[in-house]
């Protein structure tokens, strides 16, 4: 392997590990990233001449750490920096002796998803610091200007450094809540790709693949956490259906009409495995229930039918555990299928009106169920309201095409699929 490829390979596979290791004692992620970039440049100069070192990661870490020490020295004599300097020098000595670079990526993720960091930036921060994604790529997935995303990310890194947010695994009494916030941030990254599955432009395709990488990492680092496995299973089950969510002409295909031969069996198998391990851990949680629901949907690839009764029961459990608007609407839809449309409508009617005014899936579901009881006029009104709230152009075209007429075939709009 040539020196350039070797450096690139280490940067790609070990980025988060190296950043976490360098930033751990100073909490200065931006400085660690800069130092690592410098170290990679140095590698491109040195490795072709001196040969690729035996332990490329250790080489890069040592060089990067020296850069950080140099930067702190130049910055002056603030007492906090002096303390950092001492810690860094100690680490430098330790690391030179031992060949293993400790994996602090989990600690880094806890810092990125810390409650003191604004929720809206946690996913982006994790994607950048753990996977090394650049701000422009993240910005396009979150649909904001690259400069804006760059600012948000540097503000968050400054908060971690200046407010003293630790790169550490939280204390036991806080661990469940803090882990949940890591998982939520990973799932939010997945959500960027779900709403925009067209995939014509790689940059706009969202971050589902990256989110799955993050989830795999969390499972690897927290193997005993059932919800981490639940989250990974949920994302794999959803991602398995991605190729079927659009027809060849780019039009939206609702779940019920998807061609199951376009689903990905290997992803579904991996999801089922994660879910099985999670259930043996005997700590049920929302992500596992979500994953179980997607698992029942995906079983259609084998059975040819959808077991709506099981899905309805799982949504009942989910609503009890975590009564979000999304879960309540999906619960109504499932009962509409498992029993009859009137049962679904009764559940929809029970939802607080203030929650549904701008919630598109509510109006899609309502229109679908109203068609089911034969009230086409009300169905048309609900479907129109749904169209007005739709952001995905393919879904909008689908809803317009299936808008209920006052008479005629009762196709009705199908529920848009939400993860």
């Amino acid at each position: 392997m040539d020196a350039y490829r070797a450096a690139e390979e280490v940067a790609r596979t070990s980025y988060g590990r190296l950043v976490a290791s360098i930033a751990r004692s100073t909490r200065d992620i931006a400085a660690a990233e800069d130092a690592l970039a410098d170290a990679l440049l140095a590698a491109l100069e040195r490795w072709p001449v001196d040969g690729i070192p035996d332990r490329p990661e250790a080489w890069l870490t040592t060089v990067a750490r020296r850069r950080v020490i140099g930067a702190i020295r130049r910055a002056g004599t603030a007492s906090r920096n002096q303390a950092d300097l001492v810690r860094l020098r100690d680490e430098l000595d330790e690391r030179t002796e031992s060949s293993v670079i400790p994996d602090s990526r989990l600690e880094l993720m806890y810092a990125c998803a810390h409650p003191a960091i604004d929720r809206s930036v946690r996913s982006a921060l994790m994607l950048q610091t753990v996977l090394g994604l650049d701000a422009a790529r993240i910005a396009s997935a979150f649909v904001v200007a690259p400069a804006t995303m760059g600012q948000r990310l540097s503000r968050a890194k400054a908060k971690i450094r200046d407010a003293g947010i630790p790169l550490a695994v939280p204390a036991a009494n806080e661990l469940p809540a803090r882990t949940a916030s890591v998982l939520d941030a990973v799932y939010a990254a997945f959500g960027t790709g779900w709403d925009d599955p067209d995939g014509t432009d790689a940059k706009r395709r969202g971050l589902t693949g990256e989110a799955i990488r993050l989830a795999r990492l969390v499972v690897e680092l927290l193997p005993e956490d059932a919800e981490a496995r639940g989250l990974l299973a949920l994302m794999l089950h959803s991602e398995a259906r991605r190729p079927a969510r659009r027809a060849d002409d780019g039009s939206f295909v609702p779940l019920a009409e998807q061609d199951v031969s376009r689903w990905s069996p290997p992803m579904m198998t991996e999801a089922e495995h994660q879910l099985a391990v999670a259930s043996r851990l005997r700590r049920i949680g929302p992500y596992q229930l979500h994953a179980a629901i997607q698992s029942v949907h995906n079983r259609r690839i084998v059975t040819g039918i959808t077991d709506w009764r099981s899905i309805a029961r799982l949504y009942d459990g989910l609503v009890e555990l975590q009564p979000s608007i999304g879960a309540m609407v999906a619960q109504a839809a499932a009962h509409g299928e498992a029993e009859n449309p009137a049962a679904g409508l009764a559940l929809l009617d029970a939802i607080d009106e203030s929650l549904v005014a701008t919630y598109q899936p509510y109006w899609v579901t309502r229109a679908h169920l109203l068609v089911g009881i034969g009230d086409r006029t009300a169905a048309r009104e609900a479907a129109t309201r749904a169209i007005g709230l739709t952001t995905d152009s393919a879904v909008r075209r689908h809803l317009l095409a299936t808008l209920p007429t006052d008479a005629g075939p009762s196709s009705g709009p199908d529920r848009a699929e939400t993860p």
């Binding site: 909490r27 603030a78 007492s79 003191a116 200046d162 407010a163 003293g164 630790p166 550490a168 204390a171």
Partner: protein, 118 residues
């Protein structure tokens, strides 16, 4: 790191201080909290403030001094006291903020002190 715990209290809290029925419970909560902080040896400084109606606000504008009765902002929560603590990181500081009686009745803001050269 040094953090200031900026302890805001509600109007009701300030009334509780001298209320014959409530004051004992109010002060017992604070004494226990201050005791725990001292026990842990993390306190660098601290103090309690009298009620907001004792405040006077001063502004100097274009050489003119304006003195006004009352606190800077009229809000439901007002500064009631503060501690400066020295702990390892934000999580430890948040741990102390969470135990504070006014975290329940109002809020506690946690901010790192600017570290000065030395």
């Amino acid at each position: 790191m040094e953090y200031m715990l900026i302890m805001n209290e509600s109007t009701q809290n300030f009334e509780q201080r001298d209320d014959p029925d409530d004051s004992q419970a109010y002060w017992a909560g604070w004494m226990a909290y201050v005791g725990a902080l001292n026990e842990a040896g993390v306190v660098r400084a601290g103090g309690a403030l009298q009620a907001p109606h004792t405040a006077t606000t001063v502004r100097s504008r274009n050489g003119e001094i304006v003195v006004e009765d009352g606190p800077f902002a009229d809000s439901k929560e007002q500064l009631g006291g503060y501690f400066v603590i020295e702990v390892a990181d934000l999580d430890e500081a948040l741990g102390w903020a969470r135990r504070c009686p006014s975290a329940v009745s109002a809020s506690v803001e946690v901010r790192p002190l600017l570290s000065m050269a030395g």
